[in-house]
């Protein structure tokens, strides 16, 4: 086998791996759309509580949770399952976020009604769980900036735990923006840059 033939074979391997990597790159849509949907959820529920429209809180939570679920399914889960290539990291990350979603459902709807804790603790608990999910997503995708941004969830959890302010929900919205939506946009920019580079 000549050196040229070896180089040719190595080029084939490299080219195929690069093409696959481009196809399986994370677009950031999960972070952006779920972040926006969650911020909307927190805002509506918090405003209803602030203006003492208590009888609408539970129905709003149910409706908004269903909406979040639909966003998650149509924007994230379904497209991932329909992709031409299934990568191991994406499968793991999708499973991680499904599990996170189930846990959030339980802490939002089940345990407050079982009087394990009051609704006041929801923001703190949700932040802790979402921090884990964002952190692990950054680790799995080897995106260090996502790992760093995830720390904001735990900072937010502490701030919400110690704050007595009725505007505590703004901390949650700020954390969602900093530690979910912003990393999502950064991921999306990198994804688009990579696509443009490959097309050039």
């Amino acid at each position: 086998m000549t050196q040229n033939q070896v180089q040719q074979e190595i080029s084939i391997i490299k080219e195929m791996i690069d093409k696959t990597r481009k196809e399986t790159a994370e677009s950031g849509h999960l972070f952006i759309f779920m972040g926006i949907a969650s911020a909307f959820f927190v805002l509506i529920i918090s405003l209803l509580e602030m203006y003492r429209v208590d009888h609408l809180v539970i129905p709003a939570m149910i409706i908004l949770t269903c909406l979040n679920g639909l966003v998650g399914y149509f924007v994230v889960s379904k497209p991932v399952k329909e992709e031409k290539v299934q990568s191991y990291p994406k499968t793991v990350v999708l499973s991680l976020w499904v599990v996170c979603g189930v846990t959030l459902l339980m802490i939002t709807f089940l345990f407050p009604f079982l009087k394990v804790y009051t609704f006041r603790a929801l923001g703190t608990l949700a932040s802790l769980i979402l921090g884990i999910a964002v952190f692990m997503t950054g680790v799995i995708y080897e995106m260090r900036f996502v790992v760093w941004y995830s720390l904001a969830w735990w900072v937010g959890a502490v701030l919400m735990a110690i704050s007595d302010s009725p505007y505590r929900f703004l901390i949650m919205i700020a954390v969602i923006f900093i530690a979910w939506i912003v990393p999502g946009f950064i991921m999306n920019k990198k994804y688009k840059n990579r696509s443009e580079k490959n097309e050039a």
Partner: protein
């Protein structure tokens, strides 16, 4: 590396199209036929032939499913295929080392 080792490069993987197929499949859980065809830049018939050869030798497994009413061919590398590809890479590396000296 001795010359007899060069001759032992797996001829199953040595073909460019099959090498390309395994290079893709080794990095993913599975890939569909369309992606393989587009990435490698080959025809349906040519790709089918090479996939069949790899499947017959236990290097890939091929599953035909329906997504809605659309048939899809999903390909994944097997453990045997992964080992074979890894061995092939090691042999390529040895050739490169040998050619340096």
């Amino acid at each position: 590396m001795k010359h007899e080792n060069i001759l032992q490069l797996d001829p199953l993987i040595h073909a460019p199209t099959r090498l390309a197929i395994l290079s893709i499949l080794v990095t993913v859980k599975n890939a569909n036929f369309t992606f393989l065809k587009e990435s490698i830049g080959t025809t349906d018939g040519n790709l089918s032939t090479h996939l069949t050869k790899l499947e017959n030798n236990g290097f890939v497994k091929i599953k035909k499913i329906f997504k809605g009413k659309k048939p899809q061919t999903i390909c994944a590398i097997t453990g045997k295929g992964r080992k074979g590809f890894k061995k092939y890479l090691e042999q390529l590396e040895q050739i490169v080392q040998m050619q340096k000296y």
